[in-house]
């Protein structure tokens, strides 16, 4: 059969029929598309109703001003009648600072605040390599945050001026030479340590000098004795510096040019300050270890591989809590008699090992995702193993691993709450326990958990969204 047909006039697009438009269609398609779906919808609505009906009065009857739980209850009973329940946010009002800072002295709060702001400055070049616009937004945001919070925290004028000048300077730098911002990232750990714990400014500077020494030794020895021995020599020199010269030199400098902040003991750290300190240092220090472990696990040298696998599997095989108990109970056994250091530091060390094992697996995934051609091209160009790793392999492997690294960090950050079990004051259990041990607030339980939970949610959810965004961006990158 022959059908000749040729259209001369094209048909214009029409609007869909009425049954295909508007709220009716939407409801039909999205809520009541089948009997099963209709039932599910009704069940869902019922569940939401039950939840709201049960909790709404409690939220509505919130009390913001009271001195104790008893007072709160009295106020609720007075305003909403006997038997009514109500939230007692007055507790948060009175104790919020402990949830955030622990026992950190109030007149020094500006230090952790500043450290947090600078953390993001330090992260900026890592998060937005080369994207000046994004960096400007971030740094601007940080500047605003700092101005507001530092003012609220009654920062000493000099510190305030210095901090703002520093951030503005770095913002300017980020626009001119974004790469240079990485130097700030490099010195940030020392700066952060000094801000949080205080003491003489020379201690962290002299400690950083160890790294400079390492680099110098490496730099000048490498042409003479080769890369690997030079790296070894550098490490030895740095360790010697830290062990034997660090103390005297910083003492000397402090004597000559005394400058420092009030020293704050670790036992005053608590709440989210503690959680963030442990989480961030844990992940930062675990990154290099994790990379080494991942390379070790990929290595074709049997012993190196076995040791890496053994370490990774061991750490991943036991609960974090046992590692924390190790920090508090066992670490002392393994160190020379008489060594003693801060429980926070010990916890950080173990948390670092823990995160390193997880990161090693994450990075291994990134390494495995690289095509062999990249290794071969590097070889063919004459790059040696370490240069190939540093210049070609790791930058790519780390980039694809960023989302997974972020989720490891989220997990780790949530797990910092477990330090409560070794007597540290984490926001969830440690601080809440202190608050609930207070006669005034004995018997309160919903409010602190909701408050702390909400903060955790905001932080973790924010990070997970960011990592999703990154994942999407990395997928379409350069394409």
């Amino acid at each position: 059969m022959d059908q000749h047909f040729s259209r001369s006039e094209m048909l214009p697009p029409l609007a869909p029929p009425i049954t295909e438009r508007g709220a009716v269609k939407w409801m039909r398609e999205n809520l009541f598309s089948s009997p099963l779906n209709a039932i599910l919808t009704l069940l869902g609505l019922a569940a939401i109703y039950a939840l709201v009906a049960a909790s709404l009065p409690w939220w509505l009857n919130s009390v913001w001003n009271a001195e104790s739980l008893g007072q709160c209850r009295a106020i609720v009973a007075e305003t909403a009648g006997e038997g009514a329940t109500g939230a007692c946010w007055a507790m948060i009002r009175e104790r919020w600072h402990q949830f955030l800072f622990g026992f950190y002295p109030p007149d020094q709060w500006w230090r952790p605040i500043l450290a947090l702001g600078l953390l993001f400055v330090a992260l900026a070049p890592v998060l937005f390599a080369g994207q000046k616009r994004n960096m400007a937004f971030l740094l601007g945001g940080i500047a605003v945050y700092l101005v507001v919070t530092l003012t609220l925290a009654e920062t000493p004028a000099a510190a305030f001026a210095l901090a703002v000048a520093l951030v503005l300077g770095l913002t300017a730098l980020s626009q001119v030479q974004p790469g240079r911002l990485l130097w700030f990232t490099a010195i940030y750990p020392a700066l952060c340590f000094w801000l949080l714990w205080g003491g003489t400014v020379w201690a962290p500077i002299v400690a950083m000098a160890g790294f400079v020494l390492l680099y110098l030794v490496f730099r000048f020895a490498a042409p003479v004795i080769g890369l690997t021995p030079a790296a070894g020599a550098g490490i030895v020199a740095a360790v010697l510096w830290w062990l034997y010269l660090q103390g005297p030199v910083s003492g000397l400098l402090q004597g000559a040019l005394p400058f420092g902040l009030r020293a704050i003991n670790s036992d005053l750290f608590g709440g989210f300050l503690l959680a963030i300190v442990i989480g961030v240092t844990g992940i930062a220090f675990s990154l290099p270890i994790g990379i080494l472990l991942a390379l070790g696990r990929q290595s074709d040298m049997l012993i190196v591989k076995t040791l890496s696998v053994g370490f990774i599997e061991f750490v991943r095989g036991v609960p974090l809590i046992t590692l924390l108990f190790t920090a508090s109970l066992l670490l002392q056994y393994f160190l020379p008699p008489g060594t003693n250091f801060d429980i926070i530091l010990r916890v950080i060390i173990l948390v670092t090992f823990f995160a390193a094992a997880y990161l090693a697996e994450v990075i291994r995934g990134g390494l495995a995702a690289l095509p062999r051609g990249q290794y071969e091209a590097a070889d063919a160009l004459g790059l040696d193993y370490w240069r190939a790793q540093r210049l070609i392999i790791l930058p790519q492997a780390l980039k694809v691993s960023i989302p997974a690294i972020v989720s490891t960090f989220i997990g780790l950050f949530k797990d910092t709450t477990l330090v409560a079990f070794v007597g540290l004051m984490d926001p969830l259990k440690g601080v809440t326990q202190i608050v609930r041990a207070d006669i005034d607030w004995k018997g309160i339980y919903w409010e602190p958990y909701i408050f702390v939970g909400a903060i955790f949610f905001i932080i973790c959810f924010g990070m997970s969204r960011y990592s999703m965004y990154l994942e999407k961006k990395l997928k379409t990158d350069h394409r």
């Binding site: 398609e29 999205n30 809520l31 598309s33 779906n37 599910l40 919808t41 869902g44 609505l45 569940a47 939401i48 080769g226 690997t228 074709d300 040298m301 049997l302 012993i303 190196v304 040791l307 599997e313 061991f314 991943r316 095989g317 036991v318 609960p319 974090l320 809590i321 046992t322 108990f325 190790t326 109970l329 066992l330 002392q332 056994y333 393994f334 160190l335 020379p336 008699p337 989220i410 949530k414 797990d415 709450t417 477990l418 409560a420 079990f421 969830l428 259990k429 339980y445 958990y449 702390v452 939970g453 955790f456 949610f457 973790c460 959810f461 997970s464």
Partner: protein, 425 residues
């Protein structure tokens, strides 16, 4: 064809240790091994010195001393006269029980949520998203503490169940009553559920270190047998389908085979339930499921299910739409498509991350410490450690046990994974 061995042409020079590809890796490995051995020696030496300084020695003899404390939840016989080792076993079993039920419930809930998240029902999929995001982004510890608090604060005290004489006279109902036809009582101490009892139980045999409960064994044997017969039934049905193309309906036979013998056995053994009763301070009779257990289980389930839901969702989404379209185009109905095409493929994607969630859940049972659930960490790593002061031994032993559990689970995972790997060019 034999591999040719190349005789080095020039004699050995020391620099070859570093520059010759053949020796270089040996050099590195030996250096690494030496460093490692030194580190281990250093640690051991320190430990020995520290032990000596504290006047302790490293041995596990304390495990056979009297423990002296009581444990709330014990699934094997234990009294305070038992040894620390026995306490360890009780704790280990408690750990495994929470882990086991946690994995099961979390899987069920996780699969449901994961599937519902993909549902076309806007409301339901949003609700599931909220659930998943809430639980994933808030520490597990909070969920454990919270569910414990809710359980113990919102449930009535045992005495609220009591009907006093005056109340009976006045015809008043007690403040609280039991549920499920007066068989289950939920108090603020725990949940009292009926206990299975047998009039004509088979007793048990003592094999020295374990006692075997013959009634339980018989029940297990019957169940296993029924499953085997059912398996044969299904196989026969499949054979018939292969032969004639028509698959006979087997569901009612299956039900009969699966439940019939079991019910018969129960009847033969004189099965009845011992319903908990309020006596003295507490409900007696039946089984008391402590809230520490329930809270831990609920929190672990809800938390892990959120992760499993994501895994399931990703697993299903990983199967391209083309697969179900191809099945539809062949005329397969949606439920068959799911069973024959989607599930087998999704499982391959789902299982490995699922197992790692099981591992996490198992490790997370150690957070039972927050509600004083006496698991392995609570007995061996808690009270025993405390009463004997043997932290080194207790901690090492505990890590070893956790490690063993983890390794067993991941070994099973690798076996499974290898068996379902898709064949490709």
């Amino acid at each position: 064809m034999a591999m040719a061995t190349d005789v080095p042409k020039d004699s050995f020079r020391l620099s070859m240790l570093v520059y010759d590809t053949r020796y270089r890796s040996y050099t590195i490995q030996i250096v690494v091994l030496l460093l490692f051995a030194m580190a281990v020696a250093w640690l051991l030496n320190n430990t020995a010195q520290n032990l000596a300084a504290r006047g302790k020695e490293f041995n596990f003899a304390f495990l056979w001393q009297r423990a002296g404390y009581d444990i709330g939840q014990q699934l094997i016989p234990y009294t305070n006269d038992s040894t620390h080792f026995r306490a360890l076993l009780v704790g280990l079993i408690n750990t495994l029980v929470v882990a086991f039920w946690g994995c099961i419930f979390a899987t069920i809930l996780g699969v449901i949520v994961g599937v519902l998240r993909l549902s076309h029902n806007w409301l339901i999929s949003r609700m599931m998203t909220v659930y998943v995001e809430t639980f994933r982004n808030i520490p597990l510890l909070l969920w454990i503490l919270l569910s414990y608090v809710i359980l113990s604060e919102t449930t009535p005290q045992p005495r609220d169940f009591r009907v006093t004489d005056e109340m009976a006279a006045a015809g008043e109902a007690p403040a609280a009553s039991m549920i499920f036809f007066d068989t289950v009582a939920v108090t603020n101490r725990g949940t009292n559920v009926p206990a299975p009892l047998f009039e004509r139980g088979l007793g048990s045999v003592d094999l020295g270190f374990v006692t075997l409960n013959l009634t339980l064994l018989a029940a297990l044997a019957v169940v296993a047998g029924s499953f085997w017969v059912n398996h044969r039934l299904v196989a026969a049905a499949r054979a018939q389908q292969e032969a004639t193309g028509v698959r006979p309906a087997t569901w009612w036979k299956s039900i009969l085979i699966l439940f019939g013998p079991f019910i018969a056995l129960m009847a033969a053994l004189g099965f009845h339930l011992e319903v908990p009763e309020l006596k003295g301070f507490n409900f007696t009779g039946g089984i008391l499921v402590a809230h520490s257990f329930t809270a831990l289980l609920i929190a672990l389930t809800l938390y892990t299910a959120a992760f499993i839901a994501e895994i399931v969702r990703a697993g299903i989404q990983a199967i391209s739409r083309g697969q179900s379209e191809a099945a539809f185009a062949l005329g397969l109905r949606p439920n068959r498509t799911t069973r024959l095409i989607i599930l087998p493929q999704a499982l391959r994607v789902i299982i490995p991350p699922l197992i790692s969630q099981y591992l996490n859940l198992t490790k997370n049972t150690s957070l039972g410490i927050a509600v004083s659930y006496l698991d392995l960490r609570g007995t061996l790593g808690g009270i025993s450690l405390n009463q004997t002061g043997r932290e080194l031994e207790c901690m090492l032993l505990m890590m070893l046990i956790y490690l063993t559990i983890s390794l067993i689970i991941s070994a099973a995972m690798n076996l499974y994974n290898r068996s379902v790997q898709l064949k490709a060019r």
